[in-house]
Amino acid sequence: MLKTFIVGIVLGLAGAAAGLYLYPVVDQHREASIVSVAPNGGNVESFHVNVPMDRIMVGAPGQKKPLPAGLDWPSDEVLQDVRVELFKIRNERDTVVGVASRTAAKDGSDDVIDWVLHLPARGSVYVNMRPEALQGGYRQGELRAGSREFAQLRGGMTERWIRSSSGEEDAPIGRIELVTAFVGVQEET
């Protein structure tokens, strides 16, 4: 019986090691990406934020109704011209695929508008927007850096506010449309 017990210990050790090796401890849920190829090259992907339901936080000084309720935005003078928003972001099928932050600040004479999109199964992108809006209500930005899937890409992103025309009671009042166009960086030989 002692021999059986010892065999059991060996099996237990081997089984635990094999289980830990084979079983994925973390398995992120993946939504199929909806990517189209632009005529002039690059992969185009569209995301959006339904407002107000996808807003997680609107952090800015002097808000009468802070979001979320109970938010205590710091009163420090250095943050008086800073507005930080957190959102859930959706793909074209209207499925939530990630989270994003948008920071708008006035720094002296410069305006700063930065987006960070975080897609857990894929990676993150950091886009620096040009503050001035273009014709059609677009704002254009440049991919400054990315992680994992986006680490070796360059390109840009546009943001645009689209007001909803739906008259339904629980429909969003509008959405922020984000369209990315990224292309792989050719490695130097």
Binding site: A16, L20, V25, H29, V112, H118
Partner: protein, 236 residues
């Protein structure tokens, strides 16, 4: 029948021994000193509270040990973001003054390999420092030593908590020396690529509530051009 019971007991004992060997294996994930600590380059430090209730906003799926703050914040319950945390917090300089605002978005990593002592989290920071500019930090963090030295003792303790002093670097890549990659977006940091390290100092931890007293720190290596620009700006 008794042989079957002996075999099953043996297997349970073997699995438990394996678990203990994993936890007390001193060779797993001991990464030693931070490369920035021995660098000649100028580094600047940003401190933040690592306690979720001290954050401006902290949210996750709502079922984690760390509870969302404020309690009415929207939770990340949808399947693709269920293993994700989002935090907005005040960043303080070395003197404790407010230096700016930081947003951290992090997700459990599929590259986690507990057999190798890798309990990985993929995270990015966006830091905005008024009058200085914005930074984007991308990194992998390894929580193995934290879980082994703080989380496990807290779980074993009858009151489910841990008190002591734990200091360690969390960043484990993607830089070759285990550093985070830092990209400047605007202001004096615009166009710069730097390296950084996130570290944590914990004094109290609860297995039920997460960190009770803990301070996070971002160390960022500054290129000479930024030091010169900031010195000139201060002189004016």
């Amino acid at each position: 029948m008794k042989f079957l019971i002996a075999l099953l007991l043996g297997m349970v004992t073997g699995a438990a021994l394996f678990g203990l060997a994993m936890i007390y294996n001193p060779f797993l994930a001991d990464r030693g000193i931070s490369p920035l600590a021995v660098s000649d380059a100028e580094v600047f430090t940003l401190n933040f509270s690592a306690v979720p209730s001290n954050a401006i906003v902290f949210t996750n799926d709502g079922n984690s040990v760390r509870k969302p703050q404020p309690s009415k914040v929207q939770q990340l319950w949808e399947a693709p973001i269920r293993k994700t945390h989002a935090m907005a917090t005040i960043m303080r300089d070395a003197r404790g003054n407010t230096a700016g605002i930081g947003v951290k978005l992090s997700s459990l990593s599929e590259r986690t390999r507990l057999l190798q002592g890798d309990a990985l989290v993929d995270s990015v920071w966006y830091v905005y420092l008024p009058a200085r500019g914005s930074l984007f930090i991308r990194q992998s963090e390894n929580y193995w030593t934290f879980l082994r030295d703080v989380g496990w003792p807290a779980l074993r303790n009858g009151a489910n908590n841990w008190k002591g002093k734990w200091n360690g670097d969390l960043t484990s890549g993607p830089g070759a020396l285990g550093t985070a990659m830092v990209t400047g977006g605007s202001g004096t940091f615009r166009g710069l690529t730097m390296e950084g390290v996130e570290s944590l100092s914990a004094e109290a931890y609860s297995a039920d509530q997460g960190p009770i007293s803990a301070t996070g720190r971002l160390l960022i290596e500054l290129p000479d051009s930024v030091i010169e620009a900031e010195t000139a700006s201060a002189a004016e």
